[in-house]
Amino acid sequence: MIEFSKVNKFYGDFHVLKDINLTINKGEVVVVIGPSGSGKSTLLRCINRLETISDGGLTVNGVSVGDKKTNINTLRRNIGMVFQHFHLYPHKTVLQNITLAPMKVLGQSQKEAEETARHYLDKVGILEKAGSYPSQLSGGQQQRVAIARGLAMKPEVMLFDEPTSALDPEMIGEVLDVMKALAREGMTMVVVTHEMGFAREVADRIVFMDEGRVLEEAVPADFYENPREERARLFLSRILNH
């Protein structure tokens, strides 16, 4: 449902993404890993056009993301996104954070949107915080609200951009648990993360990136037991053996 073909991206002279070819199928959980600055987040952010690609083709459900004729707002309805720093709206309650887009974009009534919001808050385990403001929540709770906010639009795919990197170590588990549950339900997910345990347990496929290229794609067992690329081997040895 997501297809990169020969995608390149430049920031000025800097070549961030180099000839990316990647297909993500419906229901698949793809985890993108790699060292900092390898282009993982940029790759993810191209999918919903938070970043524009310089050349090549990128389609979501057959619709070209970069095409001028594509209504980007319509496309984005189907693509939920969770950020490293949550980006909850600080002036709105948890419930209002979740109901905003369903009401304004999908035209749901307040009652309908709140019902949906409560359903997903319950799912991420913090229904009791519906009336709180984001600043009253812990980082882990905020990230779970952000996930519920994404789900409330009933997207076909969820993008996660280092969702646990800004969290206290104690709170990482609660967010990963929500993501695991989501993966088990068959949600299509693209996850940029450094959580190797999560990748190993949940991913259908690991995509390893370095210096703007996809160096290796493999199922987790193969990737972790026997990475083909020297660079991937080095990366794994550095992050796993400490």
Partner: protein
């Protein structure tokens, strides 16, 4: 201090006071709306709009308000009150636009990204996510602009706008008690500006608490 200057001419002072309040209120509301629009134009992802917004701010902000008021009065066939209020609005809007723009820029970039990635249009994201946050940051500089606006409304007097300053001049012509008259005029302005100043302070505290 000759209080008879005040008591004998109370009608004139009150008439001017009323006009000053009305002109200030109209200019306040209109310059706030116009200023917000221009601020959004300056940062919208559309070059042509950026250009219009920037030209507006750089031109208007750098012309003395007195010249603008004279221009609106002389170039069109408006009454002094109308010309003065329009001039004030146009002038104040450029400062309000800059204050609001600074406020919008200070909202973290991730807020716009989160809003847009959920499918909200740029306008919706501005209206529901960015502006409500920017306004809190903008309240103190905005308050200063509103206080300036009330004081600048005294320029209506120069184009026969019927405001406090204008009425004060008429009282002068009649009584020759210049100093006393201007002291009373100043007091009337303070009646407006001091509560405004406190109001802004109060609002600032309340908004800070809601965060």
């Amino acid at each position: 201090m000759d209080f008879s200057v005040l008591t004998n001419n109370m009608d004139a002072f009150l008439e001017g006071f009323k006009t000053t309040i009305i002109a200030s209120l109209i200019a306040l509301v209109c310059s706030f709306i116009l200023g917000t629009l221009i601020a959004v134009m300056r940062i919208a992802p559309l070059k042509a709009l950026n250009w219009i917004g920037t030209v507006y701010v750089e031109f208007i902000r750098n012309i003395p308000v007195l010249v603008i008021v004279f221009f609106t009065y002389l170039a069109f066939t408006f009454s002094g009150m109308t010309a003065g209020t329009i001039g004030l609005t146009v002038y104040t809007a450029s400062f309000i636009a800059e204050a609001i723009r600074a406020g919008i820029m200070s909202v973290p970039k991730g807020q716009m990204e989160a809003a847009r990635s959920s499918g909200l249009s740029y306008g919706q994201a501005m209206r529901f996510v960015i502006l409500p946050q920017a306004i809190k940051i903008v309240i103190p500089p905005l308050g200063n602009q509103f206080i300036n606006l009330v004081k600048n409304s005294s320029l209506l007097g120069i184009v026969a706008g019927g405001d406090l300053m204008y009425q004060g001049d008429l009282v002068n012509a009649k009584t020759f008690a210049y100093v006393d008259t201007y002291v009373f005029v100043a007091l009337f302005y303070l009646v407006l500006t001091i509560p405004l100043s406190f109001g802004v302070g109060y609002l600032e505290k309340r908004l800070a608490r809601s965060n």
